[in-house]
Amino acid sequence: MRHFKTLLFHELKLALYSWNTWATAGLFLTLMGTIYWFALLECSRSPQPWTHVEGTFKLFWLPLLCILPLLTMRSFSEERRAGTLSSLLTTPASIAAIVWAKFLSAWITWVIFWLGFIPFTLLVNLRLGSVNEQRLSDPSVLIGALSFIFMSGLLHVAIGILCSCLTRSSALAALLTFITLLGLTAAGGALESLPIESWTWLGWLREPASHLRTFGHLQDFAAGVIDSRPLVLYITGNLLCLGLAVLAVEGQE
């Protein structure tokens, strides 16, 4: 991991100065603001089994599918298209350091995007305070849900980085990321909604399905339940994707 720190600071600086990041951030906050607004509206119209923060995070897949690919698509594909990756590889910096620096930079940006959502809830709390002597927002739900986003982000961002390694076209990288994340999220959601328990012939699927229930993980985290299994899933998934990304870069050069 030679020169990891230098590369990471460079990537973060590039992200900070890139119009792409700011445009994506604007898009993300607009989307999250809109979702939050509708969740608040729903809760104010009639009692719901969920809080407005929970309601907002139930739709986490929307920014995941629409925003995350925009964040990761250029990381490798753009460098490969411009040829700057080849010249980077002539330095003593290792490929693993390059991949990890790009991943961590994208993950930190993703985390910062989501932290940008907190002021929405603070503003609502500040304006409305409490309703019927109950706090409008329970900070523990917000902290738990954000923890899930950050933890699952390890895998989701790594998928984006891997897809970006596979092509010279940023658009194609974004599309690949979108499809993979859609598959992963939909598979989790679908497996959760299917009555697998009652289908004996699908009994073998019970165990793996229990690991992939993305929405279940969100509920657990938001409820403050820290299960080690999703942690293992996201961390090993992250390591696998980044390992494959290193191999992909090695293979292409």
């Binding site: 040829g83 980077l88 002539t90 330095t91 003593p92 290792s94 050069e253």
Partner: protein, 329 residues
């Protein structure tokens, strides 16, 4: 990382390098060396395999077989150590458009193991050497002209004072003034760094390089000092002379002076004058005073001059030889 304690005999070694893309062979059994401090021109027609060879030596592409070392370190077995001695400027010199020149060079210096305390000084030094300090220092690379981009690439190559520099077409797209500047810069590296430089401008290579390596169709066709190659590939000295002596008579006179002489008519001029081309072996003793011999034999001469063979002629002779061999095979 292992640092060789003594200077290796060769700064760059390419030994039986081969690169195949499926059934297509880009280079085959290519072997040559570059001594420390030597400037070597790497020549070949388009598609000969120059860039492929340079990429393999720089470690950005794996060869199919063979061995490549940089300053004694194997490029494939110990890439980090090999890269720490090497700077490589690829063809077309890809640079990030969204960084400023100074910013980019600072990043590259850090990545090339320049000590933190020396980074600023090294960046300033190469910007002065490459004439970037006044007009390009704070500019975005994407806004620079082709000439300045090339200078940034060369400045990057010089940053870490590597033992070996590989430059793939460093003067492509530059105007004559810029070419002169880059040529002087490369010349100033003689004795300090081993430089392997590919270029289509043969005159430039001849001016700068101590030695040339010529490849064609992925195979080595000639290597050595320009003078040695001239002797090997162009064994005849060629004279252009204008005379009114008929061909048969001139041939007879010439054969009496030098038995291995070849004559051909180049052009018939007004008033019975003819421009001839006479070839005699380079080693012939009469080469130095051919004009005197001809006048003494009664040949009327209006002009006589020996043709000077440049690297272009050597290059053409070497590549033609292999092309002909290929056709025969």
């Amino acid at each position: 990382m292992t640092e060789p304690t003594t200077q290796p005999v060769a700064a760059v070694v390419a030994e039986l390098l081969t690169k195949r893309y499926g059934s297509l062979t880009a280079i085959e059994d290519l072997s040559f060396t570059v001594a420390p401090g030597e400037i070597v021109g790497f020549l070949g027609p388009n598609g000969a395999g120059k860039s492929t060879t340079m990429k393999i030596l720089a470690g950005t592409m794996a060869g199919t077989s063979g061995r490549a070392t940089i300053w004694g370190e194997s490029v494939s077995l110990n890439p980090a150590a090999a890269k720490s001695h090497l700077a490589y400027m690829p063809e077309n010199n890809p640079l990030p458009d969204d960084l400023r020149v100074e910013e980019y060079l600072t990043l590259r210096a850090k990545l090339k193991n320049v000590e933190n305390k020396d980074v600023q000084a090294r960046v300033e030094k190469v910007m002065i050497d490459c004439d970037l300090i006044r007009r390009a220092k704070g500019r975005l690379i994407g806004h620079l002209s082709k000439g300045f981009r090339q200078r940034v690439g060369i400045a990057d190559a010089l940053l870490a004072q590597p033992k070996v520099i590989i430059l793939d077409e460093p003067t492509i797209g530059l105007d004559p003034h810029q070419i002169l500047g880059i040529r002087d810069l490369i010349r100033s590296l003689r004795g300090q760094m081993a430089v392997l430089i590919s270029s289509h401008i043969l005159h430039e290579v001849e001016q700068v390089c101590d030695k040339v390596v010529i490849i064609n169709r992925g195979r080595l066709v000639a290597q050595g000092k320009t003078e040695d190659l001239r002797r090997e590939l162009l064994p005849n000295a060629v004279f252009k002379l204008t005379s009114n002596t008929p061909l048969a008579q001139l041939l007879e006179i010439c054969l009496q002076i030098e038995s291995a002489t070849k004559i051909e008519i180049q052009e018939s001029l007004d008033g019975g004058w003819v421009r001839y081309q006479i070839a005699i072996p380079t080693s012939s003793p009469i080469r130095e005073n051919l004009a005197a011999h001809l006048i003494k034999a009664g040949v009327a001469l209006r002009e006589i001059a020996e043709e000077h063979y440049g690297l272009e002629d050597i290059f053409l002779a070497a590549t033609r030889r292999t092309t002909n061999d290929g056709l025969k095979n």
